[in-house]
Amino acid sequence: MEAMLRIRAALLLSALALLSLLVRSYSQEIQIANAERRIDLTSHIVKVFLTLKVENVGTSPASEILLAFPPSQVDHLALVKAAATVGKRKKKSYLSLDVIPTELPDAPNGTKYFSISLLNPLSTGETATLEVLYILTHSLEPFPAEISQSESQLVYYRDSALILSPYHIKKQTTFFKTPSSKLESFTRVEPTNHAGAELKYGPYENHPPYSFLPIILHFENNNPFAIVEELVREVEISHWGNLQITESYRLAHAGARHKGMFSRVEYQSRPSISGVSSFKHLLARLPPRVHSVYYRDEIGNISTSHLRTDPWKSELEIEPRYPLFGGWKATFVIGYGLPLEDFLFESPDGRRYLNFSFGCPLVETVVNKLTVKVALPEGAKDPSAVIPFPVEQHLEAKYSYLDIVGRTVVVLEKNNVVPEHNSPFQVYYNFNPIFMLAEPLMLTSVFFLLFIACLAYLHVDLSLRK
């Protein structure tokens, strides 16, 4: 009975959405034959895999496909990637496609769009399969917002049962994957099927463009809600053979806030019930051949960390000084050195470039604000950065040991960074190796002058008496 009512309400909503819409001609040229959406809710980073089978039913070839997002999701959208499927079955391969945000003049209810440019325009009657991955952060709302130490964490996830799209969708299915089978409640839109940790909505058939059917999932999620509120990564290049990385983190637990007391005796004696949503370890994946790693904060070294290295990767397991419960914060700094030859290369045109990974080395964390600073050696000129996604850039100057003119620092800033952003970026610059000798020469000349001064002092009689 209740379900019926809900469906009615949903239908009413979608009808309203339909009415409010100006049906554009070109969106009618394309329709989606089959859409499958898999939403991964197991961590606090929501990953959505969307498989669209697009067909051109219009008269003219189409070169781009639009993705639509409700405004509430766009704010939390960290990344959108798309790929075209080529080949059948066993010879299947993926070709990544460009995705750029676009504006449409008459978007209903503030809908935001991303357009996928196809490699080959889709001519009339043709179909293509697109794989889309988009990642949402800060989309799980803890409810209740405050929990005590012994409670587990429940969260809300809000979405639509129907895929928001400017195109007509013939058939669609949505799967939700929750971390455990403990599902407190969910909106039923028949046919809905709940089995274990998976929740299936659909298949729904023949929904017009801009159909929207809000649903809400309330489920248990005790995975660490580790959020880095701010991360500053400083990369300092020394042409004497070292790359020094310093990363300062401001970490927070963004899950349900901790309420009441923290009892150590319960935390120690009943780890399975007490503080299940808290976390005390973090894993950082560092490049191989890392050396002189340190882990400290404002008041000194933190002794609880373990470094495991092998020739292919390095893993640093760090423990903040205390376990983090909801709302608790910690700051720390990780620093390490890397051999320069692994990261600095010379391009064919004689320029040098640094090839380094952009994102945060911590596994499964969201960085709200990431700043990457690349300090070039003193005397480097004409820096330029190449990054696979849009970031803000500017230049700074920095003075390190024995610097006179200061080093050029390329500063890259990006908000809402997820582990999928860990792709390499390049910073190109011109450098004359003669500058490497400046500092050693300076030191030797200082010592030389010191000895000269000593000699002079011993040879000159400064006394007034004869």
Partner: protein, 774 residues
């Protein structure tokens, strides 16, 4: 009576000049150094060899003094140690960030809530300014270092400088050999290392350097009668005043020394010049330090210096009159009248000054220095500090080792060759040894004197022995040896060469001396490494498999406070942890290690020793949000709050008579197990320390609630807290933090902070709560 000192002193100077044959004179030096530099002519002259050896020994000692203090950095990390250094570090940080004027005018509202503390007017800024200047200088030279590194290494750096001063002092008092030995001894002496390891960023670190420098410059001034040295000594004194309250020792020792010289008939123009210029300028300079202010003319502790100053003028006047009057009888009469008048005027001035309150009487701390039993009876807050306890013999042995035996020998040598300088060092040694006996921490002040005097003993003995040992096989050199030595012992030794086995005996004794000295070196290294290099913030222990286990609970708790409490939260703890909480936790504290307000500390002591409901009233009145206690029952860490608790009771009871010490004892015995006093089992400190401890098994084969620090099963395992709740406990339970709950809402139905809405059905109240909290 007047002017006798001249010939004696003259002989000292010529003596020392003979033993180092003019090596330090510049015209010789410059001709000596050139072959050194060319490195081709390795055949150096004796003087050159001597200079080379001396300079290289000094350089080595300088480096050694620095690196032997780095054990703590190697074992742990580059961090600030103990309690007071955290305050110094925090103020230095403030100074480098905000500049000198802000620092000078700083009113710190983060400590002594709600009173606050005027930092600029209540601290000795010398240390912070020194560190800040070093920091700014290095920054200017583009060394991108953190201020923490500067603070950590300040004490070792100044210890190295102290060795140089000790060398020059030793040279001034005895000869350059004694100076070298003194530098080497003081470089590794545990008594000094205890306060100057890397990270021990405390006033004493620079103050010992300043103290020895002032003394050296003053002795130099007295020896030469030079105005320049006296002024330098005044500036040394100014630095000392800016750095440490121990300057009172200087301002009393130097007048005492002058007085002794006057009494022993060693008054001279040199002394007059040295003391007057040093005292007047030093006093004026010292007044620039706000914390000291006008104490030099207003406080009882400084009156001795002023008295001696006037006495010197009287002496000078008499000397002048004697010079004018040729009649001895007339002079005798004049002398009698003048001395009587001067003493009368002085006594009246002192009496009037004291009576009118212009001259403040001696403080309790000063009394407790003169009388070791004073603090125990009158000032429990001084007596409660372990470093203020009278020194045990074992710690003398621990800190001085063989110097303890060499010290009397050195005194013997000093008395044998009495001069102005040796009188000074003897007086410095004897007074400071007395003070070292009164308080453990003052061993530090005695250390330079003990090292210098022992160095004289070592140097003189070894010199004599080598002379004897070399006398026989190099008969031809005897003449030279005899001439070069000014010591009676050596000449005597070379005179009666007929004694059998003399040379073998000397060699045996030499070997013995080297054995002793090498024992001293190993002892010092061992003590430094084992006892004095632990930061006391991080505790290290041996695990079951011999591995090193680190308890970093203090910083865990402080960092938790820093990150997870409101920025204006007030933390109540015993005063020991005040500086650390403000520096590392960045939160306001009620009391801290600057124990200037006894009542405030007693209030905290009272809260800790009251029942929970009474304590709650006190804590509410002090706006306390969090209570921090240190508890060692899980790890067996013995310097925790339960073991300090009787002092809280005593200090609290000293001001508030409701707190009575016998209430917490059973037959005069302090216990925490079942047989403990009922008040003890229910006071706030007991409850906070042992809250839910009864559920924990700490040791295999022991009942739950077994306190490892005291080795008993606790008496009250069922502790309920009504007004506080556990906010955080560190992983080894060493620090426990409790939150003081807000007062109960008057409304009986609704949950905390939610207004009572009687018309709302109970079902919906949950949503309202969510609304108000979310």
């Amino acid at each position: 009576m007047v002017g006798k000192a001249e010939p004696v002193n003259g002989s000292v100077k010529s003596g020392s000049n003979q033993s180092i044959p003019a090596a330090m004179q510049s015209p010789l030096k410059k001709s000596d150094l050139i072959p050194n530099l060319s490195l081709k002519t390795l055949k150096l002259k004796t003087k050159q060899q001597e200079l080379l050896i001396r300079v290289s020994i000094l350089c080595l000692v300088y480096v050694l003094a620095f690196i032997t203090r780095l054990f703590s950095v190697l074992r742990y990390e580059s961090m600030i140690h103990e309690f007071d250094p955290y305050f110094n570090y925090r103020t230095t940080l403030f100074l480098t960030e905000k500049g000198f004027y802000e620092f000078w005018n700083w009113f710190d509202s983060e400590s002594w809530y709600p009173l606050g503390r005027i930092i600029g007017g209540t601290l000795y800024p010398g240390l912070m300014v020194t560190a800040a200047i070093i920091y700014w200088l290095l920054r200017f030279l583009r060394f991108a270092i953190h201020i923490r590194e500067v603070c950590v290494l300040t004490a070792p750096f100044f210890a190295s400088n102290t060795t140089l001063v000790a060398y020059f002092f030793g040279k001034e008092v005895w000869d350059s050999g004694a100076g070298l030995v003194a530098a080497a001894l003081i470089a590794i002496c545990p008594g000094y290392i205890s306060r100057s390891v890397a990270g021990s960023y405390d006033n004493e670190g620079v103050a010992i350097f300043a103290l020895l420098l002032t003394f050296y410059l003053f002795v130099k001034a007295v020896n030469t009668g030079s105005l320049a040295w006296a002024l330098a000594s005044a500036f040394g004194y100014f630095y000392m005043v800016s750095a440490w309250g121990g300057y009172v020792f200087i301002i009393n020792l130097i007048p005492l020394y002058v007085l002794v010289l006057l009494i022993t008939g060693r008054y001279s123009m040199r002394l007059y010049v040295a003391y007057n210029s040093m005292y007047v300028l030093g006093m004026l300079l010292a007044m620039q330090i706000r914390f000291v202010g006008f104490q030099h003319v207003q406080s009882g502790e400084h009156m001795a210096a002023m008295g001696v100053f006037f006495l010197l003028q009287v002496f000078f006047f008499l000397d002048w009159v004697k010079h004018l009057l040729s009649d001895t009888k007339l002079f005798q009469a004049f002398l009698r009248i003048t001395v009587t008048t001067a003493i009368a005027v002085g006594a009246i001035a002192l009496g009037v000054g004291t009576a009118s309150g212009y001259i403040s009487p001696w403080t309790g701390r000063f009394y407790s220095l003169l009388d070791p039993t004073y603090a125990k009876d009158h000032i429990p807050i001084i007596a409660s500090v372990s470093e203020h306890q009278p020194t045990a013999w074992s710690s003398f042995m621990f800190d001085f080792h063989i110097l303890l035996f060499l010290f009397p020998a050195g005194l013997y040598f000093c008395f044998k060759r009495l001069s102005d300088a040796t009188i000074f060092i003897v007086m410095y040694g004897l007074t400071s040894i007395y003070f070292a006996g009164v308080m453990v921490r003052l061993i530090l002040v005695a250390t330079p004197a003990v090292c210098l005097i022992s160095a004289i003993a070592v140097s003189a003995t070894i010199k004599n022995l080598t002379l004897v040992a070399r006398a026989k096989n190099k008969v031809t050199q005897t003449g030279f040896v005899r001439g070069s030595s000014s010591l009676k012992g050596s000449s005597k030794a070379s005179l009666d060469q007929s004694q059998p086995f003399q040379r073998n005996g000397a060699i045996a004794l030499l070997l013995g001396a080297f054995y002793l000295l090498s024992k001293y070196a190993t002892h010092c290294t061992w003590v430094t490494s084992e006892a004095y290099s632990s930061p006391s913030i991080v505790l290290a222990a041996r695990g079951a498999h011999g591995n090193r286990v680190i308890f970093d609970d203090y910083r865990e708790a402080y960092f938790w406070l820093r990150k997870n409490t409101p920025p204006d939260a007030k933390v109540m703890s015993w005063w020991d942890y005040g500086y650390q909480i403000t520096a590392m936790g960045n939160r306001t504290v009620i009391v801290d290690n600057n124990t200037w307000n006894n009542t405030h500390i007693a209030t905290v002591g009272r809260a800790m020793s009251s029942y929970e409901n009474e304590a709650y009233e006190i804590m509410r009145s002090l706006d306390v949000d969090y209570v921090l206690v240190v508890f060692g029952g899980v790890t067996g860490y013995s310097s925790d709050d339960i073991n300090k608790f009787l002092w809280m009771v005593r200090i609290g009871g000293g001001v508030f008579p409701v707190i009575k010490e016998p209430d917490y004892l059973v037959n005069g015995e302090y216990r925490v197990d079942k047989g403990a006093a009922p008040k003890m089992l229910n006071c706030l400190m007991y409850k906070l320390s042992y809250y839910r401890f009864g559920e924990l098994t700490t040791e295999y084969g022991k009942p739950p609630g077994y306190d490892r620090a005291r080795g008993v099963e606790i008496g009250n395992k069922d502790i309920k807290l009504e007004y506080l709740e556990e906010a955080f406990t560190t992983s080894n339970w060493i620090v426990r933090i409790y939150k003081v709950k807000p007062p109960n809402n008057r409304c009986p139905y609704a949950g905390n902070d939610v207004p009572y809405l009687p018309w709302v059905p109970t079902v919906l109240r949950y949503h309202f709560q969510a609304m108000f909290h979310g």
